[in-house]
């Protein structure tokens, strides 16, 4: 008989006991996605299903993908400094779609004062370059648990 993979309890905190589903995307026009890939792999190794949408995504692309993939979380990786435009737009589109239960976190170089503004707008967590993968995984898990509670 086929065995299910050994899923830890924590990895099944998504809606209804399924694996947590996360969309990782890199909005904006700049460069490489090494950081986003590292996070994607770490979340996979923590038992999550990571939909990797890749580079140069518009906020519209990201939200459309999040809806189709029925994700619990959206993780945005930003280097370009365009976070003040792109992240609020993602939040706004989620609101338009009545999908504010989807939790958004961000990573990249985001100055403190901007980070505070983004948190107020609804970004649940922001990781600077110094954040450890363990912290990101833990945060992702607790955010997914929050989504279940709200659903």
């Amino acid at each position: 008989m086929a065995k299910s993979p050994p899923q830890t309890e924590a990895s099944k905190q998504g809606k209804g006991g399924r694996p947590i589903r996360v969309l990782i995307a890199k909005p904006g026009l700049d460069g490489h996605d090494r950081g986003a890939k590292v996070v994607a792999r770490a979340l996979r190794d923590a038992g999550m299903e990571v939909i990797y949408a890749g580079l140069r995504q518009t906020p519209e692309d990201i939200v459309a993908a999040a809806m189709e993939e029925d994700v619990d979380l959206i993780g945005l990786s930003i280097l370009s400094g365009a976070h003040n435009v792109l992240i609020p737009r993602v939040l706004e589109l989620l609101k338009e779609r009545k999908a504010t239960d989807v939790q958004v976190f961000a990573g990249g170089i985001i100055p403190d004062e901007d980070a505070a503004k983004l948190r107020k707008l609804g970004v649940r967590a922001i990781f600077g370059p110094g954040a450890t993968l363990a912290t990101i995984i833990e945060t992702a898990r607790s955010l997914a648990a929050k989504r279940v509670a709200r659903a």
Binding site: G16, G47, E49, I51, Y52, E68
Partner: protein, 335 residues
């Protein structure tokens, strides 16, 4: 034996039945994208509510072509799907895509990266793309895929595409759901083609040699064509070989033409009935096997003698063959 059927009231149309039995089913039929997305999640989890919805939507399914796109890692399956999307949207067809990737056997997690290759207008409701992890249960993902495709068709998609990496039993099971099975290779696959050759013609109706702008592609096309002519035609169909380049956007309409030719040959040809029967039988067997396994597991779990039996095998007082015999006899008595 002929049973006399009782007189019945005129049957409600499928749509009437669906709307009566389930508001969620109605939302899918009405093109509610989020209802569709959530239902696919429910299907993946094997939720009984989802089965209920599928039951009512079933009459709306079974007519759209299902095109399986399979092949080794990195040959350009997703890039081809991207080109097919542009091609089909240009013809006014709506398209649903399921891309299946393996879950990690260690963590149960997965990185699903097929979306990277898809370029589309995010406001275009004529495309629905969903990534699916295999979640480690062999029959399970094939059934989830089948169910998700049915939801996509009920939602209104004219054409269904399924991407799988072409290795292993799970992939073959998913690939077999398709009404047209496309296998993608690239020039200079070399040894890989050699090892694929034996089984290749059993799992492909159309071969694609992608990256055909690269050297060696003519040779690869020729080799495959020779093999195709030598193979015994299945249901009157000889596998077609199509060179493409997803990068340079060539061969895409030829690929779609080959798919359509196969679809119409199967619809009207001598093998049509056999194909439908084979797919129906496979699904029915899988659904039953899943239930039988679950029933057996539950029954075994209830059995007090199970622990004793296990202990006997561990202590080497009994061999596993005799133990299995005893457990099986016990199970037969109880079920």
């Amino acid at each position: 034996m002929k049973a006399r059927l009782p007189a019945v009231a005129p049957r409600p149309s499928p749509r009437e039945r669906a709307t009566k039995t389930s508001p969620v089913a109605k939302r899918v039929l009405d093109g509610d994208m989020r209802a569709l997305a959530r239902l696919i999640s429910d299907v993946e989890e094997g939720r009984p509510e989802a089965r209920e919805v599928l039951r009512t939507l079933y009459p709306h399914t079974g007519n759209a072509p299902i095109v399986g796109i399979s092949g080794p890692l990195g040959v350009g399956k997703s890039s081809l799907i991207n080109q097919l999307l542009q091609h089909l949207r240009g013809k006014g067809k709506t398209v649903g895509v399921i891309a299946v990737d393996p879950s990690s056997p260690f963590s149960g997690g997965a990185v699903l990266g097929d979306r990277i290759r898809i370029e589309r207008d995010p406001d275009d409701t004529g495309v629905f793309f969903r990534s699916m992890a295999s979640r480690g249960h062999a029959g399970g993902v094939a059934q989830s895929t089948r169910d998700a495709l049915r939801l996509l068709e009920a939602f209104g998609m004219d054409v269904l595409l399924v991407e799988t990496v072409g290795s292993g039993q799970v992939d073959v099971e998913i690939h077999d759901i398709a009404t047209t099975r496309v296998v993608v290779v690239v020039p200079h696959l070399g040894d890989e083609v050699q090892t694929l050759k034996a089984g290749l013609f059993e799992i492909a109706d159309v071969f694609v040699v992608n990256k055909s702008e690269l050297p060696g592609s003519e040779r690869a096309v020729k080799d495959l064509q020779e093999l195709a002519y030598l193979s015994v035609p299945r249901d009157g169909w000889t596998p077609r070989v199509v060179p493409t380049s997803a990068a340079q956007r060539t061969g895409i309409s030829e690929l779609w033409q080959a798919v359509e030719d196969h679809e119409s040959a199967m619809r009207n040809g001598p093998g049509a009935e056999a194909g439908r029967k084979a797919r129906a039988e496979q699904e029915l067997r899988e659904l039953l096997r899943e239930r039988i396994e679950r029933l057996a597991e539950e029954e075994l779990g209830k059995e007090a003698s199970w622990k004793t039996l296990l202990q006997e095998v561990v202590a080497k007082e009994t061999d596993p063959y005799s133990a299995a015999d005893r457990a099986f006899q016990e199970l037969k008595r109880r079920i």
